[in-house]
């Protein structure tokens, strides 16, 4: 099978998966206990006439199948409903500064963790069994088991409260006027530093462990012995022969990680009051803002499926065997 057929087959699978998901989501929200109306109006005494008008407006008097088709049509046209809390279209609530904030925080921290984890993992695997490898292994196991919100609070206490090096909360200094864009970016990065370090440190633990372990199993492969026997320099053996083969599982992991990248880090964003999607999910759950929750889920699923698709393409590029299987 050539690369083209491979891509086409994957694309068809992608469309089917998205369609299946939105169908399941429709039924899950239908199966939830209670009347959708009660979610909006339980706290207010609403007169029956207004209630009738809302039911008509939302199409809840129509048969389920028709509701399903309206739902699909709305999704396809990007109409995700109106937020109960913000009273704005859900799409506008999600695709906003919040999404940008989350992407900035998570892409930078995951990228850094992955980059460092890969380099350190390769480096430790090549020195497996030595004291320095054992130290790195122990440290990463500890990091891997630390709760992320705890580390966030510790960072806040040390660097924001005690030494006052970084701000306590938010994404930008409130009510401050900026001379130019660079000053603004500087302030933003200054706010982002602690949450970013928190996520990086925690992620680094697992990225390092995975890279080190795959690297160790790769270095036992016959072709690595061949590379050594050929008298290649150590650097070439490590990076060109071993690391490229060991990178494959990390690429998979990066694809799966996309779910976290768009859904934000709920805990970290809450600890640092980072105005992103993670905090939006948290608030939507507290205030029962179901349209927003549904919209975020939809976004997450689409991104995850597309990311998986891209991971498969990346794989086909990195490993020529994949195209033919």
């Amino acid at each position: 099978m050539g690369l083209r057929e491979y891509v086409i087959r994957r694309l068809i699978q992608l469309v089917i998966a998205i369609f299946l998901f939105i169908t399941i989501m429709f039924f899950i929200f239908r199966l939830m206990p209670g009347d959708p109306l009660s979610l909006v109006i339980e706290e207010f005494a609403i007169d029956p006439e207004a209630r009738e008008r809302l039911i008509k407006l939302w199409g809840l008097d129509k048969p389920p199948l028709e509701q399903y088709f309206i739902y699909i049509r709305n999704l396809l046209t990007g109409d995700l409903g109106v937020s109960f809390v913000y009273h704005e279209p859900v799409a506008d609530v999600i695709i906003s500064r919040k999404l940008l904030n989350t992407l900035a925080l998570l892409i930078s921290s995951h990228g850094m963790a992955m980059f460092l984890g890969m380099i350190l993992g390769v480096w430790a695997a090549w020195r497996r069994g030595t004291a320095i490898d054992m130290a790195a292994l122990t440290t990463s196991l500890i990091l891997h088991s630390i709760p992320i919100f705890w580390l966030g609070i510790v960072f806040l206490m040390i660097f924001a409260v005690k030494y006052r090096l970084f701000p306590l909360a938010g994404t930008i200094t409130p009510a401050k006027t900026f001379e130019n864009i660079f000053e603004y970016i500087g302030d933003y990065l200054w706010h982002m530093f602690l949450p970013m370090m928190t996520i990086t440190v925690i992620r680094l633990g697992s990225d390092f462990l995975i890279m080190r372990n795959t690297m160790i199993s790769v270095t036992k492969e016959d072709y690595i012995v061949t590379a050594m026997a050929k008298g290649l320099p150590e650097k070439v053996i490590i990076w060109k022969h071993a690391a490229r083969n060991a990178m494959l599982p990390i690429v998979t992991l990066a694809g799966l990680d996309m779910a976290t990248v768009v859904s934000g880090a709920v805990l970290t964003e809450s600890v640092f009051s980072w105005d992103g999607i993670g905090r939006l999910i948290y608030e939507a759950a507290i205030y029962r803002d179901f349209p927003v929750l549904q919209g975020v889920f939809f976004l997450i699923v689409v991104v995850v499926l597309v990311a998986n698709f891209l991971t498969d393409l990346m794989y086909a590029y990195l490993d020529p065997r994949v195209r033919y299987e």
Binding site: D222, Y223, T226, A227, A229, K230, G231, R321
Partner: protein, 330 residues
């Protein structure tokens, strides 16, 4: 044939320091290889043949270590070289065809590039173009289409991969090629073709080959001399004719009687009784004595020495049965 020594191994000890104890995989081996000859190294699985081959390449990884001995290649003791000097010698003077050539190619690199790479890092070529022309010559030598150099390993059959691996081993025109069971993973007809090819190339290029194998009919066909290895030691060495005509060591006799023959009277195949010893705790005295049919008292207590059968011959054996000092003295 001129008798120029290319490789001399003296009193080599390679041990693996495992949690379960020290495995004495190579325990005092002497070996000599002359230019242009094919030497077979024969023994059961786990007797240390492969460890010996890896020691000559200095490819023993922890927990393994070369504890003692000399490996003199072209007059240089390679055990005294630093890592960078050794890196330069690998593949240029001694290369290897690994057991299971199927897995000895990197799955994500084109096979041609894997050969060119070896040339590049030994400064044997100044450009990739030059490398291509060398690959072309090598592929002609092993009967592969030149276009195959752009294939990935999984696109080739087992026999083709084996040819690539052989071409790769010859790339830098080494003095010695260590072929570790080069044909075990192939079907019988391919085996014969590949082995014939290796032998023809050896004659054409004047390379020495150490063939590590337990395939005795193959040894009889291609080898000049044979070393028989048992439990980390060489027990007998002879030219192939004498060895097959009249094996001296009881272990060699046992090995050779285990080959079926299509000529001559029908006979029962004789297996050898017993198991090879645990190399963490080899038996006292001669390591073969628990399985030996001719065992004597001295065999249980004192280890025999590898020495010439008669003075002035190259035929050596390590067995009390042929030791004059013992039979005369006792």
């Amino acid at each position: 044939m001129s008798k120029e020594t290319v490789l001399l191994v003296e009193d080599l000890h390679t041990y693996y320091f495992t949690l379960g104890g020290v495995v004495r995989a190579v325990d005092g081996v002497d070996l000599e290889v002359y230019r242009g000859e094919l030497v077979a190294l024969v023994g059961e699985s786990g007797c240390g043949k492969t460890t010996l081959g890896y020691s000559i390449m200095r490819l023993i990884m922890p927990p393994g270590r070369i504890v003692k001995g000399k490996i003199i290649l072209d007059g240089i003791n390679i055990l005294e070289l630093d890592d960078e000097e050794m890196r330069d010698i690998r593949w240029r003077k001694v290369s290897m065809i690994f057991q299971g050539a199927m897995n000895s190619l990197n799955p994500v690199m084109k096979v041609g590039d894997q050969i060119i790479e070896a040339l590049l890092y030994h400064n044997a070529i100044s450009s990739v173009e030059e490398g291509r022309s060398i690959v072309k010559k090598l592929f002609e030598l092993v009967n592969l289409d030149f276009e195959r150099m752009n294939s990935y390993p999984h696109e080739l059959s087992g026999g083709m991969k084996q040819r690539v691996v052989i071409a790769m081993a010859l790339a830098l025109n080494p003095d010695i090629v260590i072929a570790d069971e080069p044909t075990t993973a192939l079907d019988v007809t391919t085996q014969a073709k590949i082995m014939k090819m290796i032998n023809d190339i050896r004659r054409k290029m004047g390379i020495s080959i150490i063939l590590i194998t337990h395939d005795l009919p193959l040894v009889a066909e291609v080898a000049d001399r044979v070393y028989i290895m048992y439990a980390g030691k060489i027990v007998e060495a002879a030219d192939v004719y004498s060895m097959f005509k009249e094996p001296k060591h009881p272990y060699s006799q046992g090995l050779l009687s285990a080959i079926p023959s299509i000529k001559g009277p029908k006979r029962r195949l004789e297996g050898m009784p017993g198991e090879p010893p645990d190399l963490r705790k080899p038996p006292q005295g001669c390591r073969f004595h628990p399985r030996c049919a001719y065992v004597m008292d001295i065999c249980r207590t004192k280890e025999p020495v590898l020495k010439p059968l008669a003075s002035g011959t190259k035929r050596i054996v390590s067995c009390w049965l042929y030791d004059d000092s013992y039979s005369k003295g006792g």
